[in-house]
Amino acid sequence: MRIPTRMGDGSLVRMTRAEIAAEVAAGVEAGVKRAKVAPLGDDAVAHLVDVFASTARFSAVDIGDEVVLSSDGVGSQDVGSRVNDLQTFEQTVCTDTVELYHHDYSFKAIKPVLPFEQATMRRAQLLLTVPVQYGAMPDLGRYTVPDGPVPNWSQLLPLGRIDEARAAQEEAVEQAVDDIVSVAEGMYEAGADGINLDTAGAAGDADFLAALRAIERIRSRHPVWGIQIGMASEFVLGMHGELEYEGVRLAGLWPAGQMRLAAMAGASVFGPAVNVNTGKSVAWNVARTCTIVKPCTDAASLPIHLNGGMGVGGVPMHALPPVDAVSRASRACVDVLRLDGL
């Protein structure tokens, strides 16, 4: 029997149960080799094979094992108002939290329009019951010329001007931290339930450092406010290479190491991200994701919401990801990793 399943680009393929088992085994092996972590146990591997060998249209966790859903912005912003988007997700989609966001999902871009964002948050807080957080990206690249004031390290590095590239990143960190904290303070004053620093580390280790330092400052002022951080990818790129937080070198950190620093900085929720290989099956990608993230969830001292969306967490890299693949990836990761949320 050939079972319908998906590739990482979302395309439908058919495999036998033995072929799916081989994909899962290869995904685990790839995760072990890449992140230098322990393989999944036999029970977890068998469960993944069962999940992906099913022909059901939809897959789900057992009743009672449901997890919290957070997000990086809700709504298309194409119908009605942004508050309407939040209401739709609260009352029709019935998500556990919602997130207000600006089209330009960057703290630097939001700072000049913060009063307008505060007014929208205030209206949302009067109309919604579920937690409404505000989200954006640290987006360190925005601080470089020609969009920003800092020399562009992507131009300097190929020229071998390493010291200048590093100094530029360090300068950008300071400016990004100020912008993130400024927006977070504004949202706290407007009544937001929390702030989400999404896609942290997208520009490398300096980007991640900016997020950690901002979280530290926000937490010092608001001990019981929601602070979520979601990562950009599975591995912190060493664009700078020498940056540290609390004595830990940031370049090369995998999810478990990222989580420890996020917790130390004061985050409430940590979202690891593992990238999808579009040329491999979803079963392969989910097995690899679980293998890489397992040390993170096993050691976590704060809630872990795995990034499960287009191109991360085993979900196919497609704008319209098939629900059979999304549900299998979500269910498998919750079951194997004992996630606190997605």
């Binding site: 449901e66 019951t129 339930d193 949320g341």
Partner: protein, 98 residues
Amino acid sequence: MGGLRTAGDLVARMQMTRRMRLPEAKAYVAERLGVTPADLSDPVAMAEVRRARGLGTLPTEDTATVDDALAIEAKLNIARVLDVPVRSVERLRALGRG
């Protein structure tokens, strides 16, 4: 978990404010509401609990009457029942001067 249909928003609040992992957050909310953790994701069980305690529900004519707390009204009750800070409630109290 189902958000307003169940108790997903309440469990989420414990994760966001108290950094509770899922089992702890579910146990805390269940204890405060006098239900089991399994009840928290059951929309039938939670509909009555939410209505009785004024914790908010879907604001439609099929699910809420004019006597049911909704939105900011419900959040006043959520903050009290869960003993958790809700920033918009703090603002309402500060600005309302009531």
